[in-house]
Symmetry: C2
Subunit: 85 residues, 2 copies
């Protein structure tokens, strides 16, 4: 178990770096357009985020699990949108 005070810092970090990603998802769904998005880059990022998620589970870090779990879902929604359009 990681010190809960450390997790407050980690969760603040997670909130800032994950929420910065939401406007991109919103823009793609609003415009119904993902032409400016590189599918290759998103797939590489998605694999990286899944590895972070596994790492978070292995070291028992709630902050890493939450941040990368949410980011993985956001990225997956972009990848699915891109593949369907």
């Amino acid at each position: 178990m990681i010190n809960p005070i450390f997790e407050i810092i980690g969760l603040s970090a997670a909130f800032l770096t994950t929420s910065a990603f939401i406007p991109q998802v919103y823009k793609i769904y609003k415009d119904k357009n993902a032409d400016g998005i590189s599918l290759t880059m998103y797939i590489i990022l998605f694999i990286g985020v899944l590895l972070w998620l596994i790492y978070g589970v292995l070291i028992g870090s709630v902050s890493i699990i939450i941040a990368n779990g949410i980011t993985a879902l956001l990225q997956l929604s972009i990848i699915i949108f891109k593949l369907k359009n």
Copy 2:
């Protein structure tokens, strides 16, 4: 100390998610143009990445320290470019 095998997974994650960010920095410096970049978003991301860096030091995670140290430098170079132009 975190299990070195876990750190191999973490460092692989760090490599994938950090290197995905490099083409953006390269594009800005090549085009000498950062008009498409939101300064506010980058400052929020930068604060988030600094918090991840502190979290990495607190829990003793080499992967988190390396990933967010490099990302912080890349983001800082974009913020400085944006402020000077």
